[in-house]
């Protein structure tokens, strides 16, 4: 795709984030969508392209009252929205539609109107993983961690620092769920969930949603908000079974999606002012820094422990507080995208001064999928 041909012109999260017992999952989609349309100054009839995950496009389009000419129901886990942005940019460039709405919402905690996730006994996961006691992401996502630590010499303290630093960012965000400062000792003494990970190294479970509106760059200047351009994109999938990853010392999906986006954007790592790496669990920022090529994997733990990603550090990372401290409704990718857009608009609560390029990297499933979007506020 060509650079800077498509822009984000509307972006918003749900009115409330956190615990929302008075709204179904479908209504959370609508709440986010209506907020994003207000942000962009658009009417329902202006939307001709639509994408969402988990819920079907027909479900949300009918509820909202949208008649699209292009839809995308790609549902590959929490990075689905990165893939939607990539697909929407291609669709707009190809002339299939003009204005795309992407929504995410999840009633993560009360699960109102949310179908339960289940694994069929005759699926490959049901036959070759479920019988061995995996039960939800905390029992699966950290399975590669011990191998990663041994291979690269990463320590428990370095992995605890991921949570400590992100809490520092969260403290600057009024909408963050967890804002109290924590120490490495707090992390290493929190309740054991799945060794080697403890409670504070696992993401929150919250409710909320978000929506984005994209259109062509030449139309973007007529919208009320500062346009945020799509500079580069990448995507890939690997396997729905964490046990079948090619290696536990890297994510193949990350290594495909990330470099694709950098190549398309035509930038180097030193050009990056702001970085989001989807952190469902504390090891993901390390995998991301390594697989996106910011540094060798062995340096990722020491880099974070040295404070380079904290407020005032040279590579601001997960500036909303991330899935560990900001919010995580089950599919966090939308919130990472929202924070990148806020940073590029210059309106983030923990704004990185003069940030011009933001890299937003997502994961789906347990390293099953990946999507990377690189934004810029300069055309």
């Amino acid at each position: 795709m060509r650079r800077n041909q498509v822009a984000v012109v509307g972006a918003a999260e749900t009115t409330k984030l956190g615990v929302i017992p008075d709204m179904s999952q479908l209504q959370l989609h609508a709440d986010a969508a209506l907020n994003a349309m207000a942000d962009a100054g658009l009417k329902l009839s202006d939307i001709d392209g639509f994408a969402t995950a988990v819920e079907t496009p027909q479900q949300v389009c009918h509820y909202l009252g949208i008649t699209p000419t292009w839809v995308d129901g790609t549902s590959v886990g929490g990075c689905s929205f990165m893939l939607h942005v990539r697909h929407a940019a291609a669709a707009i460039e190809a002339g299939l539609c003009k204005t795309v709405l992407i929504t995410h919402a999840e009633s993560g905690k009360p699960m109102i109107g949310k179908p339960p996730r289940s694994i069929a006994a005759d699926s490959l996961q049901g036959q070759f993983e479920a019988p061995f006691g995996v039960f939800g992401p905390p029992s699966m996502f950290p399975i590669p961690v011990l191998r990663y630590m041994k291979t690269y010499g990463i320590t428990h303290e370095q992995l605890a620092m991921v949570a400590v630093v992100q809490r520092e960012w969260a403290a600057k965000n009024p909408r963050a769920m967890m804002k109290e400062p924590i120490t490495v000792d707090d992390v290493l003494n929190s309740r054991m969930i799945a060794y080697p990970f403890r409670l504070l190294q696992c993401c929150l479970v919250t409710d909320g949603g978000g929506a984005l509106i994209l259109t062509s760059a030449d139309r973007a200047k007529d919208f009320p908000q500062k346009p945020v351009y799509i500079l580069g994109t990448g995507e890939s999938v690997e396997t729905p079974m964490v046990s079948q990853m090619e290696t536990f010392t890297s994510s193949r999906a990350f290594k495909v999606a990330g470099p694709l986006a950098f190549k398309e954007a035509g930038i180097t790592h030193s050009d990056v002012d702001h970085l989001m790496i989807y952190d469902a669990f504390a090891h993901l920022p390390l995998f991301g820094l390594g697989d996106l090529g910011f540094m060798p994997h062995a340096e990722t733990g020491p880099f974070i422990a040295a404070g380079h990603t904290r407020p005032g550090g040279r590579l601001p990372l997960n500036t909303n507080g991330g899935g560990l401290s900001y919010m995580h409704s089950g599919m966090y990718g939308m919130y990472a995208l929202q924070e990148s857009v806020r940073q590029m608009r210059g309106i983030a609560p923990a704004q990185v001064p003069n940030a011009k390029i933001s890299v937003c990297h997502g994961v789906g499933g347990m390293f099953a999928a990946s999507g990377t979007i690189i934004f810029t506020n300069e055309k």
């Binding site: 036959q127 061995f132 995996v134 699966m140 799945a194 080697p196």
Partner: protein, 137 residues
């Protein structure tokens, strides 16, 4: 064991030979007749070269501990926490998820790269699971 039952695998036409194997006390893998690639989970073609000429063979049952978590909460039905969920690197190449029996479920007892051997646990008349234990000697 807790009272609720462990998730029970349901074989498909493509995986039946694997589950027949565990019932017979064999860990069965597949090898491509064209490129010699050994792979898992089962499928009737080679995921490396796409050849449909593949053979089932009895694996050695030997491997090493590639990685694991010790799950505390939430525990899966049929499991009493803490219990290790392991990924075993088989000597033939593929990796598979399993549990480690015959040793404490602790970081001290579960050393990465320790040698393991397969053991079989009968779930019911149709299904026997391949588990692993520290190799003897």
């Amino acid at each position: 064991m807790a009272e609720a039952a462990r998730a029970r695998p349901k074989p498909t036409p493509e995986t039946q030979h694997f589950w027949d194997g565990t019932q017979a006390g064999e860990l069965r893998l597949q090898r491509c007749d064209s490129c010699a690639h050994v792979y898992f989970p089962p499928r009737p073609f080679c995921p490396s070269c796409a050849s449909r000429k593949v053979s089932v063979f009895k694996a050695s049952g030997k491997g090493t501990l590639y990685s694991y978590v010790i799950n505390h909460r939430p525990a899966a039905p049929g499991f009493t926490p803490p219990y290790a969920i392991a990924v075993v690197a088989l000597d033939e190449g593929p990796r598979m998820m399993s549990n480690i029996t015959g040793c404490p479920q602790t970081p001290e007892a579960l050393e990465l790269d320790m040698k393991l051997e397969v053991t079989f646990e009968k779930l019911d008349d149709q299904i026997t699971l391949p588990l692993f234990r520290p190799a003897k000697g």
